[in-house]
Symmetry: C2
Subunit: 445 residues, 2 copies
């Protein structure tokens, strides 16, 4: 099975755990099946990690490609390693360009043949293994040419206004599609359901050639590299508008298993296995309270009902569950530096911000290193607090261990390479410190 996971944009609906650079699919709140104790890192997995694990459980040979933006690449590698294809969108151009680019990537970079089937699905549904068996089935149906496009139609559990509807021609498990309906109001949704309508979860399969042909019809490009280079010039258009609406030969596979869209704290907390993740105490008078605490300090909750409480280095949310869906405008007002980030080489966490200094804790995974780089407008001081490795500063290599201090003036090129997991307190000093003040260099190690 060739799967393309669409890994969507930054989300603020799960603030403070999601922010401009951490989308909801990277938040670790689902209990791993195999572990029940140890560090939170060992116990919990993210939506991305969960979906990736589930795919590999159902089909260990599956080729997984993630279609995403540049800003997510580090986090993806951090969470599921290097053994995954990534089709990077140079900028945001809606789903048709993204799927066209991923399809060209599969063909030209991964060498997937024109007659092979590709299954596209979002990275963030909360589902069980049955769903991935259905994806396999979807792939088989496309393989058998039952239609040019084979969609998954999700059996509605209530008349939702959040989804588009697929109206099949028959009530069979596999059926041709009669028509599509855009997101309706609730009474209309009920009407669609009475007609046998299914939710459109944005999951579909096709033979690679099919989408590549559509792409060439609509975009003037030669191959993946060419498409990538002109990506910025493409028109924003959804896959539904560009392809689905014009296609007469579409089939749908009915899926009646578990499928949840965890877009708000309310729906997300429903999927949690326990009420508290991280340090938290609820007294007996609490009911229907969920705590997700990424801060290193305890949260004590007394006599609160129907609420979600979430804390990270970015901030603290205390919200009635239903109202948590309306969080976005408030978070938009909170204009804030990103305080925590997952990089391909590890993590960084802002500990302190002053006018002319920022103190950061850097954790490098064993064997990893950051880019060889310099800053124009700040000096830096590293104090190694755990682990071993070596630093390279203006070409000079030096082994480092806990207690070692490295001072770097503005302009000086530097990096650090971790032998074992390496933790560093970095003090940045200067006027107008910004993440954009960074020049990268080649490094041969």
């Amino acid at each position: 099975m060739n799967i393309v996971l669409l890994s969507g944009g930054s989300g603020k609906r799960l603030w403070p755990l999601s922010n401009d650079i951490r989308s909801k699919q990277f938040i670790k709140i689902f209990k791993k099946p195999e572990n029940s104790k140890g560090n939170p890192e060992d116990i919990y997995e993210s939506m991305l990690q969960r979906v990736y694990r589930q795919i590999k459980t159902v089909d260990s040979d599956a080729t997984v490609t993630i279609a995403t933006s540049k800003s997510q690449v580090s986090a993806i590698h951090n969470q599921i390693g290097a053994d995954v294809g990534i089709s990077v969108e140079p900028c945001r151009r809606d789903t048709f360009p993204a799927i066209a680019l991923a399809t060209a990537y599969l063909h030209d970079v991964q060498g997937i043949g024109l007659d092979e089937v590709v299954v596209v699905c979002p990275v963030d549904p909360y589902v069980d293994d049955e769903y991935f068996e259905a994806l396999n089935k979807l792939s088989e149906l496309a393989e058998q040419d039952v239609a040019n496009l084979v969609l998954m139609g999700i059996d509605p559990t209530y008349p939702s206004a959040k989804y588009g509807y697929i109206i099949p021609s028959t009530k069979d498990q596999v059926s041709k599609v009669d028509t599509f309906r855009e997101k309706p109001d609730e009474p209309t949704a009920q009407k669609y359901i009475d007609q046998g309508g299914l939710w459109n979860g944005g999951v579909f399969a096709y033979k690679l050639r099919y989408v590549l042909d559509r792409a060439h019809e609509l975009i003037d490009f030669t191959d993946y590299a060419d498409l990538f280079s002109k990506y910025e010039t493409l028109t924003k258009i959804s896959f539904d508008y560009a392809v689905v609406e014009h296609e007469k030969d579409i089939a749908v596979l009915r899926f009646a298993g578990e499928w949840k869209d965890l877009g708000t704290w309310n729906t997300l907390s429903e999927a949690m296995d326990e009420n508290v993740i991280g340090e938290g105490i609820l007294n007996e008078e609490c009911s229907n309270v969920h705590v997700i605490n990424e801060m290193g300090v305890p949260i004590l909750v007394m006599g609160i009902k129907d609420a979600v409480i979430s804390a990270s280095t970015d901030g603290i949310l205390v919200s009635d569950k239903e109202q948590s869906a309306a969080i976005k405008p408030f978070v938009d007002e909170i204009n804030q530096q990103v305080m925590f980030a997952e990089k391909s080489w590890g993590t960084y966490k802002v500990l302190d911000v002053e006018e002319e200094s920022i103190t950061v804790k850097i954790t490098l995974k064993a064997g990893q290193h950051m880019n060889y780089h310099s800053h124009e407008r700040r000096n830096e001081v590293w104090t190694i607090i755990s682990g071993t490795g070596k630093t390279i500063v203006d070409g000079m290599e030096q082994p480092v261990k806990p207690g070692d201090v490295i001072t770097m003036d503005a302009g000086c090129k530097h990096t650090v390479i971790a032998d074992s997991e390496l933790q560093i307190i970095e003090v940045q000093l200067g006027k107008g410190i910004t993440v954009t003040d960074k020049k990268k260099y080649e490094l041969n190690i």
Copy 2:
């Protein structure tokens, strides 16, 4: 007026803002009358600062002495400066030894005469200036020898079970005391009130000689220094049991002004001038919510009612207001390092804790310095992030400015002296880092 403020022990009822070393009287949550903008430091004052300011407003010549434990001395100097007498209890021995020691201190150290009047009151009632005018009146009554002890009796606003009751002989503003009653249940409290009973708020005045005589009767000591040196051997006994119960000649002054005991988050938040202190956003669906946020990150609250939310480097509390009174057993369970402290020279704040390192932000006030000291089991690295001053390391002086790094091995003596306000990131490195690993030395500067 000579006032002794009793500054009581560590409190956990206002966790996470109060902790083992910060008692509730040091939390800054009351709006200063003169300032309405600027840093929180400039806008808000603590109970201690408020009471001290109020005393000085009513009587600018008042001699203020604070009877307290060793652990509070730094915070007191930090908040109200050096111009205040402090009678330090070497250990806790209840109110009679504490008042005896403070009285001896006033006589032998401050030179207060035997016929002068001393007014004793707790440091933490929430009152307005009228209360301090009543203290002045209390002082005058003692001066006029209306009785050996003159108590303040607070006009009850409800039949409280939290206070002892004073039953006066008459309904006059000043009356002899008929009898005392211990904390009753509510129906009994109502009965006392019907008899004209008043709350005993632990406020009283006496001529210095009177308490000194009682002290010499009950304790074998010569002077303040002697009493101080044998303090640990004294029996724990309250002033009420040791003195008040045996005294026939007691008068009471009726006080009907504002007087609140802010012992719980519920009562404390009622005294707040606004709903949010620190960074906080409440949506319109919130009602009767108070946020006190000492963390540098925003708190967003949506659809929550009748709750107090408080955050500090020690932890986060989210509590129904009424239930907040029952916090203590939960906080006792939270066994935690103190993450923030006010010292006489400034503040320290723990930024990061790892197994073999702790990272701390130190802020020294201009002109201040820490003790000249060494550690046996840890190395330290200082990075100056703002301000100027000088360090002394094993006797060697060195001027310091932002960006300077000072490394100190275990055993090495060190201190830093601030010229302007000085901020330092300190990384402590070693096994089993503890605050008790500290040796102090004399320093002549």
